[in-house]
């Protein structure tokens, strides 16, 4: 599969005859992202906000989520959309009753080590939101990472977003919330949502990934 530009994506879609979403290009994108990040599961989702909501909703939590002070407004809103209470949290004042921490990573690499330590010691879930950049360097440990694929702004030019996790059972929940046209085994989730990625979005994200790999060589 050689996708050099958007016209190639259109050619590919017409060639495959697959016009609905979550088709062969979307599956190829998930495989490519898993390979790129060396992670077990890449669950592609329509956009960054939906990815955050699904990442949180799949955890089946109730209660308060610590949100690092660098998180943008839409990330804070995503916590509320997942029926959780966002609490602004700084590394030196972390409430004890958090069920999860959502940390914003604006640079790549290690994220808010104090928050991560707190999450580990309090056994609460840790979600890293890569915002404004696309970095192969993931936070080590049992974290869930959400990042945009294809643009850094999360605006209209972003192609899609991805949830990254090594937890197979959790990834299956995410795929069920996002929905996959019944292609996956059914797992009980609170509610489904159309978070699927179209073949065109997936193709654009694949081109982005290809170009990134070329730059890295």
């Amino acid at each position: 599969m050689n996708l050099a530009n958007p016209n190639d994506i259109v050619e590919h879609i017409y060639g495959s005859g697959y016009f609905t979403n979550h088709g062969p290009l979307a599956k190829k994108l998930e495989d490519s992202l898993q390979d790129f990040f060396h992670i077990e599961n890449a669950v592609v989702v329509g956009n960054e906000s939906l990815a955050l909501i699904i990442a949180l909703a799949g955890l089946d939590l109730t209660g308060r989520v610590g949100v690092s002070v660098h998180c943008p407004e839409f990330a804070v809103n995503a916590v509320a959309w997942a029926e959780l209470e966002p609490v602004s949290t700084q590394w030196d004042a972390v409430p004890d009753d958090l069920v999860a921490v959502l940390a914003c990573d604006r640079r790549g690499g290690e994220t808010d080590p104090a928050l991560l330590r707190h999450a580990g010691s309090h056994r609460c879930k840790f979600i890293v939101h890569q915002h404004g950049h696309f970095s192969r360097e993931l936070q080590e440990g049992p974290v869930i990472t959400v990042t945009t694929v294809g643009a850094t702004s999360g605006g209209p030019t972003a192609h899609c977003a991805v949830i990254l996790t090594d937890d197979d059972a959790l990834a299956e929940k995410y795929r069920n919330i996002r929905s996959s046209y019944g292609a996956r085994k059914t797992v009980d989730v609170r509610a489904t949502a159309n978070g699927r990625v179209s073949e065109f979005q997936a193709g654009m994200a694949l081109i982005f990934l290809q170009n990134l790999r070329k730059q890295m060589v």
Binding site: P6, N7, I9, V10, E11, I13, Y14, F19, T20, N21, G46, N47, E48, S49, L50, I53, E73, F74, N77, A80, W81, G154, G155, P156, T157, H159, S179, D188, V189, R190, A191, T192, A193, N194, R196, S198, E199, F200, Q201, M204
Partner: protein
């Protein structure tokens, strides 16, 4: 017929399965032309998205059209913004799209399932009126697969009760009601551009309205910002549309006449073949109105020799991918969130009787002949096809 059937060791009636999805494919060159404009430089994306909104406003004769990433999230947005503040419940039909209760859940409200009108399979205005209560925040009326719901009666219930209404018009993109275009009724009508819909944008959705303030609130909402509207503030959600989807949708709009014409020929072919079949009733389009002829639905009645489910199973075995009409109805599903079920007499009568038959751009008139011949064969040889009535 018998020796061709897979059931009897034959190669089957179709080399490729035929389905119920419209799957209209616009000319590739047209898609690429629009795409080149959309990706062709600064402002290209915004200009192409704006062009699509203008085209859709004109098409629906609506004053405003607001594009979204999907029809699902467009519906959530319209419900969330339109719902009466401080109220908790949304009235919806049970005999409808399988994820509609989840749409209401994501809007932060509780679905109240009400019955249909047996005549048109659409939400019953009487059931809506009877179930409006102190907690009713919104009426979510849904146009059925064939023709429209009773817009006049639903709007009158809304007017007299003071409860706002949003129309899920996903299956009625091309229709008129009382001579007026669906999408032009003003309050909020929601459409999809999923690949299976009349206008194939691969994915996408939009809301039509004649209210500038509502359109403006939707525009802000889909950026993910909080929105003040109708005396309250709601959290928005990123629902921004994709330029690639706009290119496909614009190409589809260019070729709409051909798309509808094909659907009409398929419908006429079914009508010709099914008109005298005992026990089978084709749901007819109201041709006094404009219609897309997009969906083909039959009722399998008591005097057909096998049940609807047995007919469906036999069809599916032969790669005729007919489907049960909105099955199961939502009130029969299990939910992990609160949902309220009202009287379902008509829905429960209808749920075992209707089938969607293959149609859309990939189905030919010859395919329709074959499907109808197969239905005849099942009727004549019903003892081979399982459960009889």
């Amino acid at each position: 017929m018998q020796k061709r059937l897979k059931k009897f060791g034959g190669l089957g009636l179709f080399s490729m399965p035929i389905s119920t999805s419209n799957l209209y494919t616009p000319r590739k060159e047209t898609v690429i032309r629009y795409l080149s404009r959309g990706l062709g430089g600064p402002g290209g994306e915004a200009a192409l998205l704006f062009e699509l909104e203008q085209r859709l406003s004109d098409y629906h004769q609506a004053e405003h059209c607001v594009l979204f990433s999907t029809g699902f999230w467009a519906l959530v947005a319209a419900i969330k913004l339109r719902a009466l503040s401080g109220k908790t419940q949304v009235i919806i039909p049970s005999f409808t799209y399988r994820r509609l209760a989840d749409v209401v859940y994501w809007a932060g409200l509780i679905p109240v399932f009400v019955d249909i009108d047996a005549g048109d399979l659409a939400v019953s205005p009487r059931a809506v009126a009877q179930n409006i209560g102190d907690e009713t925040a919104l009426i979510l009326a849904v146009h059925p697969l064939v023709n429209c719901c009773d817009v006049t009666a639903i709007m009158e219930v809304s007017r007299s009760s003071g409860v706002p209404v949003v129309f899920d018009a996903v299956e009625s993109a091309h229709e008129t009601y009382a001579g007026r275009r669906v999408g032009s009724f003003g309050g909020g009508e929601v459409f999809s551009m999923h690949a299976s819909k009349l206008v194939n944008g691969l994915e996408g959705g939009y809301v039509c309205t004649n209210e500038a303030a509502f359109a403006s609130a939707l525009e802000r909402y889909k950026t993910g910002a909080s929105v003040a509207f109708a005396g309250t503030t709601r959290r928005g959600l990123n629902g921004l549309p994709h330029v690639g989807h706009a290119a496909f949708a614009l190409a589809g709009l260019d070729e709409l006449a051909g798309n509808v014409s094909h659907n009409q020929s398929i419908y006429n072919c079914y009508r010709k073949h099914l008109s005298d079949k005992a026990g089978i009733r084709l749901l007819e389009f109201d041709e006094k109105e404009q219609t897309s002829y997009k969906n083909i639905v039959i009722e399998v009645r008591e005097n057909f020799p096998v049940t609807r489910d047995a007919l469906l199973a036999s069809m599916n075995l032969e790669s005729i991918l007919a489907r049960k009409y909105y099955y199961p109805p939502l009130h029969k599903k299990r939910f992990s969130y609160p949902a309220i079920i009202r009287d379902m007499t008509q829905t429960e009568f209808a749920e075992s009787r209707y089938l969607n038959l293959p149609c859309g751009s990939r189905v030919t008139e010859q395919d329709v002949h074959t499907v109808c011949d197969f239905i005849d064969f099942v009727a004549e040889n019903h003892e081979w096809f399982g459960e009889t009535l």
